[in-house]
Each structure stands twice: as C-alpha cells, then as structure tokens.
Symmetry: C2
C-alpha cells in the first residue's frame, strides 16, 4: 500500500485577493511562492503550501500545457490550523494584538498544547497550535 | 517576528461522515486519530492532521473545559493536496484503479513533479503530488 506523506496543499477561498494577501503575507509573515490574478500561494515554514483562491476564480476546469486542473470552489468560514513553537506563543499573542487581529479564544487541550483562534478577513477560523494537541504533534 | 512552522490542520466538510471515513481510512489508508459523531481526524504521514467535519456539525461555537472552539463550516467542492513519493506514483494510480476511484486528470508541472487529481465522495478535489511542483517541495 503506497503512503500519503503529509498534507502538501491547503486551500481557502476569499472575496478579495489583495486583502487576503495583505493579511497572510503582511500580518502573518508568510512568503509568497506564486501568484496570479485568481490565486496566491504561500510558503508555510518550508513544509506546507497555503493556497488562497479568489472565490469563483477556480470553479471551472483549467487546461494547462501539462494537463487539466479540475475546477473547485468553496464557501463558508472554514477552519485551518498552523503549527507554532510553544516558545513563540506569547510572541504570537503580541503580534496579533499589534496588528489589531482579535484573538477569538485561547484553548488549552486535555492532551497538552494550547491553541489561539482568530479570524482572517473572510471569516475563516484560523488556529495557531503548540505541540501536544495530537498524538502525532 | 514569530514563525508559522507548517500547516498542521486542514479541514473538509462532508455530508456523510461514515462514507467519508470509509474513503479516507479504507481507500486512502489514513489512520484515525480521533472521532466523535460530528468529526473525524486522520493522521497524514505523522506530519499533518486532516479533519473531516459533518457539514453543519461544527457551525456553532463549542465550549470545552479548556476554552471555546469558534464555529466554522464549509460548502463547495474545495481542493487539498497530499504529498507522495515519486517512487509511489504508479502504485497510487494502481490503488485508485483497484478502489474504483476515477483519476480525473494527471498533470505534469513546468517546474517538475506530477499530480494525480480525483474526487472524494463529497466532490472535493484531491491531489497526490510528487516533489518538484513548488520551490519548497
């Protein structure tokens, strides 16, 4: 049986790509890997790719020289979480305060680990999680 | 400036949790980390957590002993991608065929790397990608 080694790409769908880029690059500090008028890809720690799509912009199948990318799209305030070091939890709380991003809640987990929850400009529910939360993290 | 180290959690929203679990655990081979009647969490290669939520089941804020998890929910066939080894690409094509999961398309990228695209039972657009596709992968 072949293996899935990691989640490589995680997608969010937004109403305003410029606003989303300002948030993910400017506020959260993610380097941009690639962009075009319908999407922006961010490097998350050299390990994961966060894809931000303009809502409706990727709904149709897209032919490329190497093959067709199937259409996809999404609605609703979805959830995703980033891994952070415990040693940087306080710095992240400070960073979010500085950037006027309200922390919706702070959760301590029964297994261990702490999560900060906040919203992106499209209402997506973001989490910054320190290790301990999952058996594999 | 503190760092985001990786995407830890990626969420999909589904209409039938039992059907989704059969697909992600049975067809794709992901071990279950946690489950309850409204969600199921999968271990992806010991590096990422894939969260499958019953649509509507996480829409309300959820109090826990350690703090409140903000509500979230999603619609639409969204996209996510898994990392696979190039050496296992052919085995994945064979595995999908065996499980009667049609491969929607196969894309070779200008940077390098190959992606297989297929759909989960809720129409989400899944990708299995070999290295080369991104500057960081």
């Amino acid at each position: 049986m072949p293996k899935l080694n990691a989640v490589l790409e995680t997608a969010l769908y937004v109403d305003d790509l410029t606003r989303a880029r300002a948030f993910y690059e400017g506020d959260l500090g993610l380097p941009v890997l690639f962009e075009n008028p319908r999407m922006c890809a961010f490097d998350v720690g050299g390990r994961s790719v966060l894809l931000i799509f303009l809502r409706g912009g990727s709904a149709q199948d897209m032919p490329t020289p190497g093959g067709t990318i199937p259409g996809h799209d999404g609605k609703g305030p979805i959830h995703m979480g980033f891994a952070i070091r415990l040693e940087e939890l306080a710095a992240w709380e400070e960073r979010l305060r500085e950037r006027n991003i309200p922390i919706t809640s702070k959760v301590t987990w029964s297994r261990g680990g702490t999560s900060l929850y906040f919203h992106d400009p499209d209402g997506h529910v973001l989490e910054l999680a320190t290790p301990g939360l999952w058996a594999i993290y």
